[in-house]
């Protein structure tokens, strides 16, 4: 079956512009995660959706970052007024969320470059 897909694969934008990143999780996976991977910082948790519960937004670095998950499937991560420090690879993962050791399946990521 299809894995997690993300689009676009690469995004170059100018400082101050808004960007939207899309994640299509594996069908049937109720949990969806966004992470950010930047040089020297490793992978950082951003936000977590589980079913119809309120999302865990504790990892969002500022109020310029937001995410939504429509119909329990596709998710969009929006970054407003992008800054150069937002340049990173944004990774999405999904899981069945049956328990804390459940496997998270990652997409290939979106590489964001803010000029």
């Amino acid at each position: 079956g299809a894995g997690v897909s993300q689009s676009p694969s690469n995004k170059v934008t100018e400082k101050g512009k808004d960007v939207e990143l899309r994640c299509d999780p594996i069908s049937g996976h109720t949990a969806l995660y966004w992470y950010r991977q930047s040089l020297g910082q490793g992978l950082e948790f951003l936000i977590y959706f589980q079913g119809n519960s309120a999302p865990d937004k504790s990892g969002l670095p500022s109020d310029r970052f937001s995410a939504e998950r429509t119909g329990g499937s596709v998710s969009t991560l929006t970054i407003q007024r992008t800054q150069q420090e937002d340049s990173a690879v944004y990774l999405c993962a999904s899981s069945l969320a049956r328990g804390p050791t459940d496997t998270q399946y990652f997409g290939p990521g979106t590489r964001l470059t803010v000029l």
Partner: protein, 113 residues
């Protein structure tokens, strides 16, 4: 804030050599996972260890979870060029409501022939 420290950060070896990568924390984790990531792709899960002292083997890879569940190691025997990649450890806190992972910064392994 829980942190996972990985060492070494970079490792460059010849094919056939053995190596060990370490993942350490001052915090206890309910479980710990190891991932491998190749350029342009997302991380792929290699193993999950749950019990303190647990040892798991995956072909030439041996994973160990410390008795106190604060540290882990990955040992590769007779490394091959196909082992090249970024190795990440990730912990799951026993206090987290969800299952968002806490990642180390990774070990970049380069195996040359």
């Amino acid at each position: 804030t829980q942190l996972l420290e990985q060492s070494p950060q970079f490792l460059s070896i010849q094919e056939g050599e053995n190596l060990t990568v370490y993942c350490n924390s001052s915090s206890v984790f309910s479980s710990l996972q190891w991932y491998r990531q190749e350029p342009g792709e997302g991380p792929v899960l290699l193993v999950t260890v749950v019990t303190g002292g647990e040892v798991k083997k995956l072909k030439r890879l041996t994973f160990q979870f410390g008795d106190a569940r604060k540290d882990s190691s990955l040992h590769i025997t007779a490394a091959q060029t196909g082992d090249t990649g970024l190795y990440l450890c990730a912990g799951i806190s026993p206090n987290q409501a969800g299952t968002a992972l806490i990642f180390g910064k990774g070990t970049t392994l380069s195996v040359s022939s």
